[in-house]
C-alpha cells in the first residue's frame, strides 16, 4: 500500500489563522519519501506558508510533473485540487489551468530532472509567458526515483554515490530565470525553514511567475561527502544574499534590521516583503546585478540564497493576453455563442 491517510488529530489549542484553521488543516497524506528527505522539509515550509497566508485550501491548485519532488503535492493541503502531469510537462498544464481560471492560487512543484532536463523547454516558456504561479524546484542534483543518475543541475566534479564523476556543466535555474526575464527569482534551502517560509509566501503572492529554486538534499543518493547538493555542503557554502520577511497586507511594515539595510517591496495585493540585505553591495531589484552577484559567488563555490530578484511591475500572462478579469471557465454560454443571426451574417461572406 503506497497511499497512507494521515490520522486527523487536531488539538484545540493549536493556533488558528484568520480563517480559524489550524496548520493541520493544511496537511496532506503521509509522505512516502525517504526519511530525512529534503523535500519533506519543503512540504512543511509550504504548509506553514499557506497556513500563515490564510488561503482557503480549495482556492489552491497544486501541480507537478514526475519524480520524487512531484509526488509531494499529495502531502500538503488535502483540501486543494492537485494534478500530477506527465514528466516535465507541468508548466503547460499550469498554463492551461491558469488560462481557464486566473483567480486561484497556482503552486507548481517540480524537480531538477523535471524542470531542467525533460521539461526545460516548458519551464522556460511558462516563465516567458509569466504565468501567475509559484514555481518551486526541489533541487537535489540527482534522479532519486530511478536510483541516483545525475541530473542537469549536478555540478562538475560532483560524485554519484557509486563513484561516477559528473563532467558536464550544470544548468542553474536561477541564472536561467534571470536571463529569461523572470520577475521573481529566489533560492532557498530545505534545511532553512526560517528563510524558506517567507520566500514561499512572497512567491505565492507575486503577480506573475515566481521561481523558487530550493536546494533539497537527497538523503539516499546524493548526501555523501563528494556531493555538492548534500546537507553538509549546502550548510557550509550557503551565503544568504538577502534575508526575506513577509508582511501581510493588514500588518504595518516592521523592519527588523539585523545589520543590513531593509528594502520593503510591495506586492500586487498590497502586502509587503521586506528584504534585508546581508551583503552590503546587493540590490535585489536590479537584474544585472543579481546575475553578476550570483555568478561571482558561484565561482567561489558559494550558493547564494534569498530573494535574488523581484520586479512587481511585469505584466503577467492574462494582462499580456488582455483577457477579462473573471475566470474564462465561468463565462456564461450566452456570452460565448454569437447565435443564429450572427451565423447568418457570417455566411454572407461565403456566398
Amino acid at each position: 500500500m503506497t497511499f497512507m491517510q494521515k490520522p486527523k488529530v487536531s488539538h484545540s489549542k493549536l493556533p488558528r489563522n484568520e480563517l480559524g484553521l489550524s496548520i493541520r488543516d493544511y496537511e496532506g497524506s503521509m509522505s512516502t519519501l525517504c526519511a530525512g528527505c529534503g523535500h519533506d522539509s519543503v512540504t512543511a515550509a509550504l504548509i506553514q506558508a499557506i497556513w500563515e497566508l490564510s488561503i482557503e485550501p480549495h482556492l489552491i491548485v497544486k501541480m507537478s510533473g514526475i519524480g520524487c519532488s512531484s509526488k509531494t503535492p499529495a502531502y500538503f493541503v488535502e483540501g486543494a485540487h492537485g494534478i500530477n502531469a506527465v514528466h516535465g510537462r507541468m508548466p503547460s498544464i499550469a498554463t492551461g489551468a491558469n488560462a481557464a481560471n486566473r483567480n486561484l492560487y497556482y503552486i507548481g512543484i517540480s524537480g531538477d530532472g523535471d524542470s531542467l532536463s525533460i521539461g526545460l523547454g516548458q519551464f522556460a516558456h511558462a516563465l516567458r509567458r509569466n504565468v501567475n504561479m509559484l514555481y518551486l524546484i526541489e533541487n537535489n542534483g540527482v534522479y532519486g526515483l530511478t536510483k541516483g543518475q545525475f541530473s542537469a543541475s549536478a555540478d562538475v566534479g560532483s560524485k554519484a554515490k557509486k563513484g561516477a564523476v559528473n563532467n558536464q556543466p550544470p544548468i542553474d535555474p536561477i541564472l536561467l530565470a534571470l536571463t529569461l526575464g523572470a520577475g521573481f527569482v529566489g533560492r532557498g534551502f530545505s534545511g532553512d525553514k526560517d528563510q524558506l517560509v517567507p520566500l514561499i509566501k512572497a512567491g505565492i503572492l507575486h503577480n506573475g511567475f515566481a521561481l523558487l529554486d530550493v536546494l533539497s538534499p537527497c538523503v539516499t543518493f546524493n548526501d555523501h561527502e563528494d556531493s555538492t547538493k548534500s546537507y553538509a555542503h549546502t550548510r557550509r557554502f550557503d551565503r544568504p544574499a538577502v534575508r526575506t520577511d513577509f508582511v501581510p497586507r493588514k500588518t504595518p511594515i516592521q523592519t527588523v534590521c539585523e545589520g543590513g539595510e531593509a528594502i520593503p517591496v510591495e506586492l500586487h495585493d498590497g502586502s509587503t516583503i521586506v528584504l534585508r540585505k546581508v551583503s552590503k553591495d546587493y540590490n535585489p531589484v536590479n537584474r544585472d546585478e543579481a546575475y553578476r552577484y550570483v555568478q561571482e559567488h558561484q565561482k567561489g563555490g558559494e550558493i547564494v540564497t534569498g530573494l535574488l530578484y523581484i520586479n512587481e511591475d511585469q505584466q503577467e500572462f492574462h494582462a499580456l493576453n488582455d483577457t477579462v478579469s473573471g475566470a474564462l471557465r465561468d463565462l456564461p454560454y450566452a456570452e460565448l455563442c454569437p447565435g443564429s443571426a450572427i451565423l447568418e451574417e457570417i455566411q454572407h461572406l461565403y456566398r
Binding site: 482557503e56 485550501p57 500530477n84 498544464i93 492551461g96 488560462a99 471557465r329 460565448l336 443564429s340 457570417i346
Partner: protein
C-alpha cells in the same frame, strides 16, 4: 499537330467535333506559387458559384512560399458532384516548367490556354486538344506599369479570357470584385481592366463560348463555399470554447487563424473590450495539448488544431487525458505521412494512431467529418462528447477538407441549443454530500462525476496519470487498478450510443456494399452513381465516428462483400473494422488511394469494377 483555335483570318473554331458540355467540366490552372494566383482562381470559382452552378475547387500547392509549381482545379458539376472526376478538360497553363505534364494530363477534346506572348505551339502540340494562345503578359504589360500589378493582373487577365470562353457572366465578376475590394477602389479598377483585356482578346480571336460552357442555374442558393478549417473554428466559437493552444503546422494553421479572427469580432467583453478567450501559441505540440488538458481539467472548453507530426508528439499526454479523464478536443487535419511526409498533400493515415494514441490500454473517441459543414457540426459535437465522456476527442479532418473550398449546405444554428457540460458537481451538491469519490460509477454508464478546482473544499481530489483507485488515491493494487481500467472500457463502449451515427444509403436485397470515411465521401457517392449506370449497384455506409456504433455491425452483417475505400496505404479503416467489429477478413476488399491528391471518383469506379471482375473470374 495541335489545332490552333481560330485565326481571325481563318474562320471557324476547331473543336466542333465535341458535343457541347454545359456546366460539366474541369478547369485546371497551372501556376507558380507566390504570384497571387490564389485570388484569381478563387474569383473564378466563386463567380461560377454565384451563377448558381455547383462547383468545387482544389488547391494543389507546394510546401514552399515562392517559385514552385502550384495547381488549382475547379470542378463544375451541374449534378452537384464535389469530388475530383479524374479528368481535366480545360488547362490554363501559366507555368512553362510544367507544360509537359500539364499537357499530358488533359483529357481528349480539351482546351489548353497559355500565355502566347512567348509562342510555344510546337511544345504544346497534342492532336486531340485545342490550343488557345492569349498573350497575357503582353496585354498586361501594355496596360500596367507597376511591376507587382503586372504579375498579379496576368492572373486576373486569364479569368477575363475564361469569362469569354466559358460564358461566365461579367456582371457577376464585377460584383465580386467590388465586394472583395470595397475599401480599395484602385484595385477594383485595375482588376476590372485586366478582366476586360482578357475578355476582349478572347472574344475577338476565338469563337466564344467554347463547347464547354456555363449556363446560369439555381442550384447553389442554399449553399455556401467554405473550407473545413474555417468552419471547424466557427464550430469552436459556437461550442463556447474559450481556450485554444496550438503550434503552427500545415495544414491545420488556418484553423486557429480563423478562430482568432472570429474571436476578435465576436468575443470581446462589451464593456471592457477585453477578451472572452485566450489563444496561446505554444512552444510545441506537447505543450499545446498540455495547455488544453490543463484548461479542460479546470473547466474551460479548450482545443488544439494539429496535423500528423503534432499528433505523434501529443501521444503521451493523450494517454494522460484518457486515464485521468480530462476533456479535450483535438483537430487533426491529416496530411501525408510518414514522418514529415508531404505537408501540403492529403491523406487519411492517422486513423490507427489516433484510435489508440499513447502507450498502455488506451482508446479514444474519434469523429470523421466528410466536408466543411461537418467540421462545424462535429466541432460542436466534439466538445459535448469530450465533456460528457471526460476524455480527449479527436476530430480527424484532412488537408482536402480543411484547406479547400467546398460547396456545402448553409449552416443552421438553433438558439435554444445549450452545451452538454457533462457530470460536474456544483458547490451546492458537494455541500450536501457525505463523501465525494472521483472515479466511482454512480450511474452505471462508466462515467464518473468530476469536480472543478476552486469549487468547494470537499470536492478536492488528486488527478494523476499514475495508478489510481476509484477514490482517486494512488494505488499499485491489482484490484483497485483494474476497477478503474475496466470502467474506462465500459465508458468507451457506452460512447457508441453518443457518437454520431454513420450515414447509410441502402437498398434491400443488395449484398455488396462500400464502407468509407471522411473526405472520400464525395468521390464514393459519384462513383456509386456511375457504377449504377453500368448496372452495378452497391449499398454504402460512411463511418462518422469511433467507437463504431451498432449500425456499422448491422451493415457488416447485411453484406457479403464490402469495399473499404480510404486514403492510406495500409488499409487502416479496414484494420480498425477487423479489430473492433465482427467483420470477416474475406468480406472486406480495400480500395486504397494514397498518393497525396484527393481521391477521385474514376479511381473508385475502376477499383470496384476490377475487383468485381476478378471475383467473377474466380
Amino acid at each position: 499537330m495541335a489545332k490552333v483555335a481560330r485565326d481571325p483570318s481563318h474562320g471557324s473554331l476547331v473543336g466542333e467535333r465535341m458535343n457541347t458540355r454545359v456546366n460539366d467540366f474541369v478547369i485546371k490552372i497551372a501556376n507558380v506559387n507566390g504570384t497571387g494566383s490564389a485570388s484569381a482562381n478563387g474569383l473564378l470559382m466563386k463567380a461560377i458559384f454565384r451563377m448558381g452552378i455547383p462547383v468545387v475547387g482544389k488547391n494543389f500547392f507546394p510546401s514552399n512560399i515562392q517559385g514552385l509549381p502550384t495547381w488549382y482545379e475547379i470542378r463544375v458539376s451541374r449534378d452537384g458532384y464535389l469530388a475530383r472526376s479524374g479528368e481535366v478538360d480545360i488547362m490554363v497553363a501559366m507555368n512553362a516548367q510544367t507544360y509537359a505534364r500539364d499537357l499530358a494530363e488533359m483529357s481528349a477534346g480539351g482546351y489548353l490556354l497559355y500565355d502566347s506572348t512567348w509562342p510555344r505551339e510546337a511544345q504544346l502540340a497534342r492532336s486531340d486538344i485545342t490550343l488557345i494562345g492569349i498573350p497575357l503578359a503582353k496585354l498586361v504589360n501594355e496596360a500596367f506599369t507597376n511591376i507587382r500589378a503586372r504579375i498579379l493582373m496576368k492572373n486576373i487577365c486569364y479569368v477575363g479570357a475564361l469569362a469569354a470562353l466559358l460564358a461566365l457572366e461579367l456582371g457577376v465578376l464585377e460584383a465580386l470584385l467590388k465586394e472583395t475590394f470595397s475599401d480599395k477602389p484602385k484595385l477594383i479598377a485595375d482588376n476590372l481592366r485586366a478582366i476586360e483585356l482578357g475578355y476582349r482578346y478572347a472574344s475577338q480571336h476565338f469563337d466564344c463560348p467554347l463547347p464547354f460552357r456555363l449556363e446560369r442555374m439555381n442550384a447553389t442558393a442554399d449553399c455556401i463555399m467554405a473550407d473545413g478549417n474555417t468552419l471547424a473554428a466557427l464550430g469552436c466559437v459556437y461550442a463556447g470554447a474559450t481556450i485554444g493552444a496550438w503550434y503552427p503546422i500545415t495544414p491545420s494553421t488556418s484553423l486557429m487563424d480563423a478562430f482568432k479572427d472570429f474571436c476578435e469580432r465576436y468575443r470581446r467583453d462589451p464593456v471592457s473590450g477585453k477578451q472572452h478567450y485566450c489563444i496561446v501559441q505554444a512552444e510545441d505540440e506537447l505543450a499545446a495539448i498540455g495547455m488544453v488538458l490543463g484548461a479542460g481539467w479546470n473547466g474551460a472548453r479548450a482545443f488544439t488544431p494539429t496535423s500528423g507530426p503534432g499528433l505523434s508528439l501529443m501521444n503521451e499526454f493523450l494517454g494522460f487525458g484518457y486515464y485521468a479523464e480530462i476533456p479535450a478536443v483535438i483537430f487533426d487535419v491529416q496530411r501525408v505521412g510518414p514522418s514529415t511526409g508531404m505537408p501540403t498533400r492529403t491523406q487519411q493515415a492517422d486513423l490507427l494512431l489516433a484510435a489508440y494514441a499513447s502507450h498502455g490500454d488506451t482508446r479514444h473517441v474519434l469523429l470523421f467529418p466528410a466536408n466543411p459543414a461537418e467540421c462545424f457540426s462535429m466541432a460542436v459535437t466534439a466538445f459535448d462528447l469530450a465533456e460528457r465522456l471526460q476524455t480527449p476527442v479527436i476530430v480527424l479532418s484532412d488537408l482536402d477538407i480543411g484547406m479547400n473550398d467546398w460547396m456545402v449546405q448553409k449552416l443552421n444554428w438553433d438558439d435554444r441549443q445549450t452545451p452538454d457540460r457533462g457530470k460536474v458537481y456544483t458547490s451546492d451538491e458537494l455541500r450536501d454530500m457525505q463523501l465525494f469519490h472521483r472515479y466511482t460509477d454512480r450511474d452505471g454508464d462508466g462515467i464518473a462525476y468530476r469536480t472543478l478546482p476552486g469549487t468547494y473544499p470537499t470536492g478536492a481530489y488528486f488527478t494523476r496519470g499514475s495508478g489510481h483507485s476509484a477514490r482517486a488515491t494512488y494505488t499499485e493494487d491489482a484490484t483497485e487498478y483494474q476497477e478503474v481500467l475496466d470502467r474506462l472500457r465500459r465508458k468507451h463502449d457506452y460512447a457508441k450510443k453518443l457518437v454520431p451515427e454513420p450515414t447509410v444509403r441502402r437498398k434491400d436485397g443488395l449484398t455488396t456494399g462500400v464502407i468509407s470515411i471522411g473526405s472520400c465521401d464525395a468521390a464514393v457517392l459519384e462513383a456509386l452513381d456511375r457504377l449504377a449506370c453500368e448496372g452495378i449497384e452497391l449499398n454504402y455506409l460512411r463511418v462518422r465516428s469511433f467507437p463504431f456504433s451498432s449500425e456499422v455491425d448491422q451493415f457488416l452483417e447485411q453484406h457479403r462483400q464490402i469495399f473499404v475505400v480510404e486514403q492510406n496505404r495500409d488499409a487502416q479503416l479496414k484494420s480498425l473494422l477487423l479489430l473492433e467489429t465482427s467483420a470477416d477478413r474475406d468480406q472486406l476488399t480495400s480500395i486504397l488511394h494514397y498518393g497525396g491528391m484527393p481521391i477521385d471518383s474514376s479511381f473508385i469506379v475502376r477499383g470496384i469494377r476490377v475487383a468485381l471482375a476478378k471475383g467473377e473470374a474466380a
